[in-house]
Symmetry: C2
Subunit: 135 residues, 2 copies
């Protein structure tokens, strides 16, 4: 709560109800929401909120390392408030994203990338989740 206010202020961002609401929505949220699900979840409490505000805010939060963007699925991104090193699993049936604890850390970069700036290695397991396998 106050953490969020502090984070916004530290980043030199204005504290608006929409921004705080979006940050609160992400707090402890392990469901990896899409832009649309953020919008739909906030609309009941903030009827006037617009999609573009959600886009703006999420973009700002990504830039300030509060969220990470997961372009795992076709057509839309998921967002994760856990920016620590971990992997993801994506169920191709229900399209949900799950967290996976990262196994080996500190791997060396492949030789092909010697001249490049490597920002990050992302590992995604494509799965059919337990629930969806039952059907």
């Amino acid at each position: 709560m106050n953490q969020n206010l502090k984070k916004l202020k530290d980043a030199g961002l204005k504290v608006t109800p929409q921004r705080v609401a979006i940050m609160e929505f992400f707090e402890g949220n392990r469901s990896h929401p899409s832009i649309n699900s953020i919008y739909e979840n906030l609309k009941p409490d903030y009827p006037s909120i617009s999609v573009s505000t959600v886009y703006n805010t999420v973009e700002t939060l990504v830039k300030n390392n509060y969220l990470m963007e997961l372009p795992i699925a076709k057509g839309r991104s998921f967002y994760d408030p856990d920016i620590s090193e971990h992997d993801h699993a994506y169920c191709i049936k229900c399209e949900r994203v799950f967290d996976i604890e990262s196994s080996q850390t500190g791997q060396t970069n492949p030789p092909e990338l010697s001249g490049c700036k490597v920002l990050e290695l992302r590992k995604t397991y494509y799965i059919v989740c337990e629930e969806c396998s039952r059907e």
Copy 2:
């Protein structure tokens, strides 16, 4: 060339000029084209080809394990005719995709996925490529 005809026939698919053209376009192509770049590249030789045919054909080829789909970037997919196990690097500046030889193979699945059907593990390096780093 005849390989493509054979693959289509083996899959029980009709041999159409468009399908053959798309398969030829992918042959030895390491540039990981998007739907749009396939379309643009084929249009000069096949002026009447339509985007929906490209979508249809690519979908069919993915289903028949001739292509793999890479939903690496926001908003669009890339396609790779190399379906053997390997990783990718994506330059966030020029948005090109590079092939990376897979390092360790045969890793075991993480415990979180014990009840799931794991289809694939994909590793993507997010980079700024050599060329883009120079600027």
